[in-house]
Subunit: 396 residues, 2 copies
């Protein structure tokens, strides 16, 4: 059900022709009234046109609808691209009967080509007519590019329902800034009522850390976008920061993000295995995440993971190359429960159990830096022949 | 001739049994008298035992010999590994008849296993007896691991001869600090006479920038080491910083480093193509190098290069994700002479000539950030099926 799991949201997905494949490629998400909105966007120096547009509109804190095309990223398209993004909002608003500045726009696909607006015009009535309160599945399908399947999650904690969907299988290594993900698109909805300021805090505390800890290929896209819309259909007063209600909502949003993050790395381009890196003992969470990302981004770790090769030296190398300052002689690491780094040294020979852990579909590496209270969990995947194959002929 | 191109140096390479393959795996380099020495070493937080040892000895500024084993990296080996490195220096010194603290040690190979000192003992006499003033070729062979061929270069500028050799095909993404490279080992020799302080300046100005601009897989090793030995056989007074002689020596050292850097990326694990990224218009050289490395390290750029796929959006994405601050709307880039980014926008359709450039064995990408005088050249390579194959079963 994804984005339509919370009451008060309608969604649809139709085929407009943006993708040559004939699969669903135009998604609409509509809130029954004005929703409070917060977002997080790519820090890439070439933000796509829809990112530039949404950043400004999310500042205002209110939204009614989101329109998404997949096939063209509307990135590297200059001022013409920005006019196209504005036109997408305006035409969607006109069709839905809401103000253009209440419509957010997302695009994903090839960087360079412009969005064919004639295809949008021809399919907006169909997408609008298809809007349903259980349309989250079609919406989640319509936003996909090289993904093999839709990624949806939901959680109910306390009074709140939170639903979400994500797309992204390559060019995934988000470095997000709140108020402001390769292309990673994440749509989160809730029936809670919340002021934009409270939503922004939620995004900073629960959404950005979760997604900045996900990597397929360490490539932050021009289009990475996470949007959180709070429609208020659950009723009652706005969620107040610091309250039990805010904690419940944060926990539900965090749970949905973690579920979606696991789905993203499991469906990563060419991926056959998931790598979960749990880092403890860092000076702070940011340092822990940096170490975890250094390991999960290393081509040598990723190829060893693909081959099931228990090569602890590569973990040692990657931990040491993170740029984070620590005392190597007190650092230890475990593959599952098998010690592969013990106080800065690598066991020789490598314990036999390590190969068993590396052979599994999800490999857990725990790292203790033994320095402070900072902890983070990072989700990654292997680097396979299929990744090379997919990405060596993406546009040709 | 590599390290024996300048007069005053002897070298050898023999088979000691460190590698299972039976190829040369023990190298000796001897200066006829005390040489002035300067070096640059990995900044990985887990520096290998020989790196820890050499850092201290290079501080003293004088060296007579270098001993190198290939097969075991002597990294992640703790205090036992440090004692092994010290023993390698001591036993080599004893055999050569020089003080142990004038012997530098380098190791390369698998991280974790200790160096079998009995193999060293058994082969040091043979390696010593094999020392010749044209032995640079055997030395350059003996330091290889996954490399397919020896990498040697030489230059004569003004009065000075400079020779060098390098090894390294994977775990290459050095972040060096002077006085202080996976494993990249580079040995540079000259017949110039120079004080250690003058050599250190040369390393900072010409050696570190060159090698920090080389990437195979963006993985800074535990063992990266560059050593520059000045034996003085050319005669005359020591080279004075700022002099014509210092400029000549710097130019020769720089030329040898660039030649070796090209050989390293051409022989990179699984590599079928070289990528040269020339960045201009940055605020400074460091910013230019950071942008170049972001492009040359991107798995999406590297797989597109492998497939010969002219996908300009990936260049745009990688330039924008470097973390360097600039105005995207004035940035342009060319594949050879074909514009692929024009003032922040990607041409649609992609110009036909782009595919021709991508099909060549060496692909030149020029980037102009249009912001300042900073420039740098970065050397990289493609990401192929062979890289995945080699690295998915390195120890198994």
């Amino acid at each position: 059900m994804s984005v339509t799991f919370p009451h008060g949201f309608l969604a649809s997905g139709v085929t407009a022709g943006f993708k040559a494949s004939g699969r669903l490629d135009l998604g609409l998400l509509l809130c029954e009234g004005d929703a409070a909105v917060a977002g997080a966007f790519t820090t890439n120096a070439f933000p796509a046109a829809p990112v530039q547009l949404d950043r400004r509109r999310v500042e205002a804190g209110a939204a009614r609808a989101v329109v998404v095309n997949s096939g063209q990223a509307n990135a590297g398209t200059g001022s013409a691209g920005l006019r196209d993004a504005e036109a997408m909002a305006e035409r969607t608003g006109r069709t839905l009967g809401c103000a253009a500045d209440r419509v957010l726009v997302c695009s994903t696909g090839v960087i360079g080509p412009r969005v064919p607006l004639d295809l949008l015009d021809a399919s907006l009535p169909k997408a609008t007519a298809a809007l349903r309160d259980d349309g989250g599945g079609e919406f989640a399908e319509a936003i996909l590019t090289t993904d093999s399947r839709a990624k949806q999650a939901e959680a109910t904690i306390g009074r709140w329902r939170v639903g979400g969907c994500a797309k992204g299988a390559g060019m995934i290594g988000p470095r997000l800034a709140a108020h402001g993900l390769g292309t990673l698109l994440v749509f989160l909805t809730t029936d809670a009522a919340a002021e934009p300021a409270a939503l922004r805090e939620l995004v900073s505390d629960h959404v950005v850390p979760a997604w900045n800890g996900v990597t397929v290929d360490a490539c932050p896209s021009t289009n990475d976008t996470v949007l959180l819309l709070a429609g208020g259909a659950a009723g009652g007063p706005s969620v107040q920061p610091g309250s039990v209600e805010a904690r419940d909502l944060g926990a539900a949003v965090g749970a949905v993000c973690e579920s979606l993050a696991r789905l993203v790395v499991a469906d990563a381009e060419g991926s056959s295995k998931t790598l979960v890196v749990q880092v403890n003992g860092a000076t702070d969470a940011e340092a822990a995440r940096t170490v975890g990302l250094a390991v999960a981004s290393s081509p040598l770790v990723k190829t060893a993971l693909f081959g099931g090769d228990p090569n602890p030296g590569r973990f040692l190398q990657a931990i040491g190359a993170s740029g984070v300052v620590f005392d190597g002689s007190v650092v230890s690491a475990w593959l599952g429960d098998v010690a592969v780094v013990h106080r800065g040294t690598v066991p020789d020979p490598v314990p036999a159990g390590a190969a068993n852990v590396m052979a599994g579909p999800e490999v857990l590496l725990r790292i203790d830096l033994n320095r402070g209270p900072g902890a983070a969990t990072v989700f990654g995947c292997d680097l396979s022949h299929d990744y090379v194959e997919i990405n060596s002929r993406y546009t040709t």
